[in-house]
């Protein structure tokens, strides 16, 4: 039986035009088989990791995974695996909740969820180490600068001494440099002083 025998008659004409060589047909078959195998493995993986935890909802994205989020507080699975203690507690939970002790209520909560809201939102203190390491990095940069100053850079040119800069200024004023908005505009040439 050829592969196109099971198709309706109307589709045979179409498929005949796009016939593949037997070789590429086989290659395609092998590829499709591999793809579907990978898909099966991927589909099984999230479930294979949760042990016998109960899947109780859709969760964040349909994955059977647990995550504590304040904006999405009900994850897809319970936090703890089922064990006889919890099973017994769940049987008791079916009765009057007034008969549960505080300890049992807490055990039930912790079986379903890992962290309470206040624990999720509790400050971790991580900012301290971030701040400390950042400042250490910044001060290290200062040390590099000082080291460069000592061992790498040549001394500043002598044109940066006070007297040479004064002389430079005097010369600019004498040349009437930048007379509209610059130094010369501030200089009163009649008085021979700043305006």
């Amino acid at each position: 039986m050829s592969p196109s025998d099971h198709l309706p008659a109307c589709q045979k004409n179409n498929t005949a035009e796009m016939a593949l060589t037997p070789l590429s047909r086989n290659a395609l078959k092998v590829m499709l088989r591999q793809v579907s195998k990978h898909q099966q493995i991927a589909a099984a993986s999230s479930l294979s990791k949760i042990g016998n935890r109960e899947v109780v909802g859709f969760g964040l994205n349909g994955d059977a995974s647990y995550i504590d989020r304040v904006d999405f507080p009900m994850p897809a699975i319970r936090f703890k695996e089922n064990n006889p203690d919890i099973q017994a507690l769940r049987e008791k939970e079916k009765g009057d909740w007034g008969k549960l002790t505080l300890e049992e209520k807490k055990a039930l909560y912790r079986a379903s969820f890992c962290q309470t809201f206040s624990e999720m939102k509790a400050p971790t203190g991580e900012w301290k180490s971030i701040m400390g390491i950042t400042l250490m990095g910044a001060s290290f940069a200062v040390w590099i600068y000082l080291w460069m100053k000592l061992f790498v850079y040549s001394p500043l040119p002598d044109t940066l001494t006070e007297e040479k800069m004064q002389a430079q200024l005097k010369r600019m004023i004498d040349l009437r440099a930048n007379p509209i908005e610059g130094y010369s505009a501030q200089w009163d040439y009649e008085k021979g002083d700043w305006k």
Binding site: P3, S4, L7, Q11, N14, T15, M18, A19, L20, L28, K29, L32, V56, G57, F58, V70, D71, F72, P73, M74, R90, E93, K94, D96, W97, G98, L100, L102, K105, K106, L108, Y109, A111, S112, F113, C114, Q115, T116, F117, S118, E119, K121, A122
Partner: protein, 152 residues
């Protein structure tokens, strides 16, 4: 297999394009773009209250609705919370009830001091009736346990 799939797709595409061009009269064409909701606040409250009040609600649905409520820019009305707590009771899930109360408290945001006492006062009778402890009674208003490091 690939061939037949391709030919089916092209056939389906062709027929659907041909048909729609004949089928859709201009008058009935509406722009299906705007997502503005015309639902009023009261309608939303009623919708969620009746959703939680359904007798055959299951664990999937109740979590879905609770997560949705947490994603909205609102604090659920006490009547929604009461319906949700009763649904938790029907599903025999105590932890879920406390978790939802925590979520509601968190939704109060910066106005927690104003809104949360009001909610507690409104749902107090239900809490009594179902013997649900508030997060404060459970000691969950402050961090109780630290997470164990996964690196040790």
């Amino acid at each position: 297999m690939f061939r037949s799939a391709l030919s089916r797709v092209s056939h389906a595409a062709k027929t659907s394009i041909m048909q729609t061009s004949y089928r859709v009269p201009a008058v009935t064409v509406t722009r299906g773009m705007s997502k503005h909701s015309t639902e009023t606040d009261a309608e939303l409250d009623a919708r969620y209250e009746s959703y939680f009040s359904r007798a055959d609600i299951d664990g999937w649905e109740i979590r879905k609705a609770m997560n949705d409520l947490c994603g909205m820019d609102l604090v659920p009305e006490p009547k929604i919370i009461i319906a949700a707590l009763k649904a938790c009771r029907r599903l025999n899930d105590y932890a879920l009830a406390v978790r939802f109360l925590e979520a509601v408290k968190d939704k109060c945001g910066v106005k927690q001091k104003e809104i949360y006492p009001y909610i507690l006062q409104e749902i107090g009778a239900t809490l009594q009736e179902l013997s649900i402890d508030t997060p404060e009674v459970m000691g969950y208003d402050k961090p109780e346990l630290a997470l164990a490091s996964i690196y040790e």
